[in-house]
């Protein structure tokens, strides 16, 4: 895969943005309202949705990989890497498939991605703890992903509207 300078720059900026959003959402104590380990808004998913449509799946995967690796390095927690990779790639896989369906809007794609992200994270928790107890949280997390997915979908839709006049959207 060959990247143009513009694409490479955009990938770098989007990776930074995704990392910044992850840090920012850690300041929002969603886990106080719903006390489940690892529950979050998934704001970084906006970047993934955006990259998927504007840059295509290959570069979206690159951005995701860079985000997960750098995020784990910054947090100094390699255990978290498994969680973000499994969640991130489950979401990416589902969103690549869903984004190919003509009938779906960014909302559907984003909700599907959020649900898959939670499934991936629960799978990581089951693997890492060697116990199926985390499965107990899956139904609640899936329910929550309807809301968080719709929220990130809304923000992605706003983003696409705001950038509609730029040459970014024309590829």
């Amino acid at each position: 895969m060959k990247l143009t300078t513009k694409q490479l720059t955009l990938c770098g900026i989007l990776t930074t943005l995704a990392l910044a959003l992850s840090v920012a959402e850690n300041q929002i104590p969603l886990s106080l309202a719903i006390p489940i380990p690892g529950i979050k808004l998934g704001l970084a998913n906006i970047v993934t949705v955006f990259a998927l449509y504007v840059l295509g799946p290959a570069q979206a995967v690159l951005i995701l990989l860079a985000r997960c690796l750098l995020g784990a390095v910054f947090a100094g927690n390699m255990n978290a890497l498994l969680f973000s990779l499994m969640g991130g790639f489950a979401a990416m896989g589902v969103m690549i498939l869903l984004s190919r369906l003509r009938g779906l809007s960014v909302y559907g794609v984003s909700i599907g991605g959020a649900a898959a992200h939670n499934c991936g994270q629960i799978a990581a928790a089951v693997l890492s703890l060697g116990n199926t107890a985390p499965l107990y949280y899956l139904p609640i997390l899936l329910g929550v992903s309807l809301l968080t997915g719709a929220l990130t979908g809304l923000m992605a839709a706003c983003l696409f509207r705001a950038l509609a006049h730029t040459d970014l959207m024309k590829g």
Partner: protein, 146 residues
């Protein structure tokens, strides 16, 4: 994947995404909701009932302690795991983490658990406290969160 489709990957999509939710999006919502319900059905309903309520403590995936709540009622336990310390409190009907020195505090925020199948998970310390047995009770979603 053929070479041609690989080449297509990585080139920007020329069709702009749909920005308004439609019927197909509702279908995705339905599928996720159905998954949540069916998953809740299997996970929350498949517990052994009719035995004494017992708290099972696991560290790193291995069971370390079984505490029948009737016998252990009124006591306090301290769990050292993964460099963290969790203080457990037990009554005849409930168990909860009173305090922990982990950075996330999810286990403390989970609060009291009192039914078979419920669990408190502490990811940093890799500790799971799971309740087994107890009377059969209908599990409503509202009760699980608290």
């Amino acid at each position: 994947m053929t070479l041609r489709s690989w080449r297509k990957v990585g080139t920007p999509m020329n069709t702009s995404p749909k920005l308004r939710p439609g019927l197909w999006d509702a279908l995705v919502v339905l599928v996720v909701a159905a998954l949540a319900v069916s998953c809740g059905w299997t996970v929350w309903d498949g517990q052994d009932r009719g035995t004494e309520l017992t708290a099972v403590v696991s560290v790193d995936g291995a069971e370390t302690e079984r505490l029948p709540l009737k016998e252990a009622a009124g006591t306090e336990r301290t769990i050292h795991a993964g460099g963290y310390t969790l203080r457990l409190r037990l009554t005849e009907t409930e168990i909860w983490v009173e305090s922990a020195d982990c950075p996330t505090q999810d286990c403390v925020h989970t609060g009291h658990i009192s039914r078979g199948g419920q669990s408190i998970v502490c990811l940093p310390a890799r500790v799971i406290i799971q309740l087994e047995g107890g009377e059969r009770v209908d599990t409503g979603v509202d009760a699980v969160i608290g």
